[in-house]
Amino acid sequence: MAILRRLFLTATLAAAIAAPAAAQQSITVASTTSTEQSGLFGHLLPAFRAATGIEVKVVALGTGQALDVGRRGDADVVFVHDQAAEEKFVAEGFGMKRIPVMYNDFVIVGPGDDPAKAAGKDTLEALRKIAAAKAPFVSRGDKSGTHAAELRYWQRAGLDLAAIRSDWYREIGQGMGPALNASSAANAYVLTDRATWLAFRNRGQLRILVEGDVRLFNQYGVILVDPKRHPHVKTEAGQRFIDWLISPAGQQGIAAYRIGGEQLFFPNAPR
Amino acid sequence: MNLPLRIAGLVVEAGGRRVLDGIDLEIATRGITAVIGPNGAGKSTLLRALDGLVAPSAGRIGHGRDGAGPPPRRAFVFQRTALLRASVARNVALALEAEAVPAAEARARVAHALARVGLADRAQDAARRLSGGEQQRVAFARAWARAPELLLLDEPTASLDPATTEEIERLVVALRDAGTKILLVSHNLGQVGRLAEDVVVLAAGRVAEHGPVGTVFRRPATQAARAYLQGELPWQSFDASS
């Protein structure tokens, strides 16, 4: 019967696609858009594969989503930048142990003519000025590490965001790239990590206005998903990835990654 | 042979009305029987009921001497034949699919049938691009390939010109001579006179009259038959008695 034949053919076809890509080992790492879109993984992972033969498959999402993927057991390792959320992840029993790996910094980027006069080294003062001027500000609004940091800054600046926000505060619920695109289009202020900004091509009239504030320091941590929770997790290979990241080879690899001669990420794993 | 056909009390309903309102008829085993009558009399419905295309709500159709035999092998030719978007040969082969004929034999029977209707050289042409007359010949090729015991024709030449009509009529006669019983619905009384031995006059879902063609045409016994025939044959004079 023609139909059974067709069904069989398509099932085989689908199976051919579903067949494992290679016999080599692989792990799944849930990470953030900043590490992916800045090109760090493109630079780092080939070195890891050359050293260990392990293929790393990176699913790049916001920090909140990445941790959720880890909770569901759909990744072996999570690599994000929100210390509070990471520690909660471990405390809830989803992760083994949180290990710091590297940091980069946030910057506040805004319109070239700086209508709110926010430029300088003081993040909190800049936010107060932006709020006072009701200058357009784009927020990721996506439970990412960057979004969490942004909310902390508003709070530490003594501003009640819920009370003061109106049309000037635009929450787009998306990643860093779309947030920068939106800011570029609206000539708005936005908090971004330096790495994504350096790799971003559609800047329009935006430029860095606030940087160098110690408070803008953005720490990344890596966690192995707990096999007690999800027995299928590739513990051994995942642990080798973490070990490599904090080894001298991995740490130097991180430091060596540059865009336009500028270093994006600063390794700081405990020795 | 599973004839004669004995139809008793056949009722077919459609859209809330009785299209066939109690048909009682016995159809002989040989020759061509015509079915005539005004529009809406139920002629097409009668053919469809005999082919199993519509289900009766009452009455029965009996086959064979004792009325309990299996239905005869049948074929049906419509006024306009529906053809697939495929070759002529493929369309004729459709008629043999129900019989699970082995492929080689099927090809032979299709070729023979196409030759019989004069379409042998059109076998691989697109069936839909044939003329009306050629398409009707494809329908007859289908009928021929099935070698039916009963052939039902529903106004087969109504859309055709006189020359093509003549070709089709020759095919009908050939089939009759080959032993097929033919039921012919037609408005063309000249055709009926040429081809049929007996004629059934249907009116308002009932049999008004059934008899030899010559008799019914020259001396219709019922008012219904006379009224229908008068519309077609105004120059005939009728026996004033009755």
């Binding site: 023609a2 139909i3 067709r6 069904l7 053919l9 398509t10 076809l13 689908a14 696609i17 579903a18 890509a21 799944t28 858009t33 992916e36 879109q37 993984f41 493109g42 498959k57 990176v58 699913v59 790049a60 909770r71 569901r72 057991g73 759909d74 998306q174 990643g175 860093m176 790239g177 779309p178 920068l180 695109n181 570029s184 790799a199 971003f200 091509r201 559609n202 800047r203 999800h230 | 082919d51 295309l53 049948r74 049906f76 419509f78 034949t81 529906a82 697939l84 978007r85 495929a86 070759s87 493929r90 459709l94 699919e97 129900a98 019989e99 691989q124 042409d125 697109a126 069936a127 839909r128």
Partner: protein, 231 residues
Amino acid sequence: MLATLSEAIALLSSLDPSVAGIAALSLRVSLAATAIGCAIGIPAGAFLAIARFPGRGAAIVALNALMGLPAVVVGLVIYLALSRSGPLGHLGLLFTPAAMVAAQAVLVTPLVAALSRQIVEDADAELGEQLRSLGLSAWRRVRALLLDVRFSLAVAVLAAFGRAIAEVGAVLVVGGNIAGHTRTMTTAISLETQKGDLALALALGIVLLGLVLVVNAAAAALRAHALRRHG
């Protein structure tokens, strides 16, 4: 806009070789999904066209409505099903091309079935009675009708393929846009747009359109060939 467009066209000649791999994945996933959609959708649609049963009208309405399934919703549901914490987690299919095929197949099957149903039903209105008078069983009648409408069905299949290869919501969620494994043309375009590299995104878009054109041209050539042979 013109500047970005001309930059995009200039990029076409110097595209990274990895684009070929991404394009190949897009084709494999969407072709497989379309094949599955046809294997299920055409018989289902044909059956629904000629069968008569209580609730048939409601089934047709539901099927037509499924054509409007949002891709991202389908992606989310399949993600939840294939997640390790979900009912089919043990299959380990999340973030693989197989998951993407499955999601697109779910998107595409109702489209094929709904269109097939209408196409076959229209043909049945024209041919059905005469096919029955040839003594054909329901199964043989469906085959004859499918033969008759094969060119209209081909367009329905192309519509299904178009929907599959153009969508980004489902494959992004279930595939994860993993570089070298589950990155398709549409997810790559989405990524480059997010990174602000609009010229590259547009260039990839042009490549994708080219791919779709090639597939449609191939289908047209096949049809012309079939027409010449079979009429």
